[in-house]
Homo-oligomer: 330 residues x 2
């Protein structure tokens, strides 16, 4: 066990501490803008470009922050994580930098690029069946046997604080541009990125509404916010957004999201594909399906953009060339 | 006629003045890095990501700098430019910002995305046949008739100075990283970007070799550097690098390149396609064929990378989805 109280709700101070740990290790990703696209939508869309982050998604931020807090005595036993791929790569890269052995439990249908990169980064990959096996049980068994620290994908205050550095950067970047956004849109699987980002913005840009965006059928956080308690997605739900297929909101993340979010939006696979093409054309940025839901919400009219400034977080870019090709074909 | 002496060789001071004009208007593009790719090549490759520049290529820098220098009395008569597409978009965007009418003479086989964007940015497009018509004559006729200022694509000191801001930024960015590159690789069509970049680096990173990179069959600058005078490409030469198909080096650009460059490298279309795929996979960056030649030179072993730090400028990302899809298919 570590000295970190993993049931604690993180604070903005934790996010600032995470930003210090990540300085010079994580990429301070740019906020991108496309004047021609702005002209088309009659508003201003600013994209926080996390595909340009180390390992191609925001997940490195939380993983590195969490793993930096593992006590010296525990480090040699390594870490274990379960992930559809982006958290896996974040954990593998952070383990490489910190010099820890890492094992990642990954669904057998994860994109090939995510599995290959996780292994190339030096982690051991253990596969499971997303519809049959219990990944938590597999991870717990490995942790019990080896003494490895479990690095949760989202429901951990140090993970949330690490992802929240996205929010700190957004605040600094829009302030440098001299604009105050009318809304900030963030994708949501388990809710680590959106809760951390909303927490950071609650202090740095108070009053700016933050919305979570999910795939249709995986809009558990949207429905949970409406119901006031955690809801679950149907087990037969399907989406191309492989990074956002969590069955239910996290406990800590939902506690934050319940207090901080303006609400939830949901987008279809068709809207996601269109947003990926717009990112190709206007931002020259490769965005994966789950990474494109916030852009999709802005471009498909799920939130008003005319005459307004909207920040959308593009959370990752780890998409197989074969799928990307099919999406450009549409 | 303008008061600018267009036969003058620019200086680093002109580049610094251009940087001041471009501050807050052009994007300060990031220097990207991919640890997994570095591990594969056994060296450190840093990519200056100009696809993230306004209009999707470096060309906006020079166009805006040049057009900022047009005297008030000449502005209403507008500008005329000839371009395969990226300079066209740069001119169109700069004209929009500065409030000038713009006409662009563009080859009929330019990528559809470049023509569409140029028109969307508000410029009038006049088409010509790349293999039959004389674009200079068409541009000169329009200028004579309307009094418009010709904005040359490269052979103009203010254009070279604008493109040279890429070099200033590279120097600042590698200095912030605490590294001194072993070489800087820059694509070369007419030579504006590489000459300006080499000029900036001659003062900011003196002694660091700068190489131009061209498509095979369009290696006129490489051969000109060897011969000591300007050479011409064969008229039947073909390449997928639509942005780099200039027939011969510029007069001013070659004068600078002759003094400043370490030499020239040439890459095949196959190597370019491979570099575009690597940019997709590792940098999540959409790079067009002509924009990928410097990366191609580094990845194909045209220059030693093992144990070294190489900066490669990715100069643009304006590629049609249909071509990009075919390249991902390879």
């Amino acid at each position: 066990m570590t000295s970190l109280l993993t049931s604690e709700i993180p604070t903005v101070r934790d996010i600032r501490a995470a930003a210090e740990r990540l300085a010079g290790v994580a990429v301070r990703t740019p906020l991108l803008e496309a004047p021609l696209l702005n002209a088309q939508i009659g508003g201003r869309l600013l994209i926080k470009a996390e595909p340009l982050q180390r390992t191609g998604s925001f997940k490195f931020r939380g993983a590195y922050n969490r793993m930096s807090l593992i006590p010296e005595a525990e480090r040699a036993k390594g870490v274990v994580a379960f992930s559809s791929g982006n958290h896996a790569q974040g954990v593998a890269a952070a383990a490489g930098i910190l010099g820890l052995p890492a094992t990642v439990v990954m669904p057998s249908d994860a994109p090939a690029i995510k599995r290959a990169n996780t292994e190339a980064l030096g982690a051991k990959v253990v596969l499971y069946d997303r519809h049959r096996d219990d990944r938590d049980a597999i991870g717990a068994e490995i942790a019990n046997r080896t003494g490895a620290t479990i690095v949760r994908p989202y429901d951990d205050p140090a993970i949330i604080a690490g992802q929240g550095t996205v929010g700190l950067e957004i605040a600094e970047q829009v302030t440098a541009l001299g604009v105050r956004p009318d809304a900030v849109l963030v994708c949501c699987g388990g809710g680590g990125l959106v809760s951390g980002t909303a927490l950071a913005l609650s202090e740095t840009l108070p009053g700016v509404p933050v919305w979570c965006v999910e795939p249709e059928q995986f809009d558990d956080t949207r429905r949970s916010l409406e119901a006031g308690q955690r809801q679950t997605n149907p087990s037969d739900a399907r989406s191309i957004c492989d990074a956002l297929l969590s069955p239910t909101p996290g406990v800590l993340t939902f506690e934050l999201n319940r207090q901080l979010l303006a609400g939830g939006l949901a987008v279809s696979d068709v809207e996601v594909r269109s947003a990926m093409r717009a990112s190709f054309e206007h931002f020259k940025l490769v965005v994966e399906p789950g990474g494109a839901v916030a852009i999709a919400a802005a471009l498909s009219g799920k939130i008003a953009v005319a005459g307004r400034t909207i920040v959308a977080v593009a959370s990752g870019g780890n998409v197989d060339p074969a799928m990307y090709r099919r999406i450009l074909d549409d």
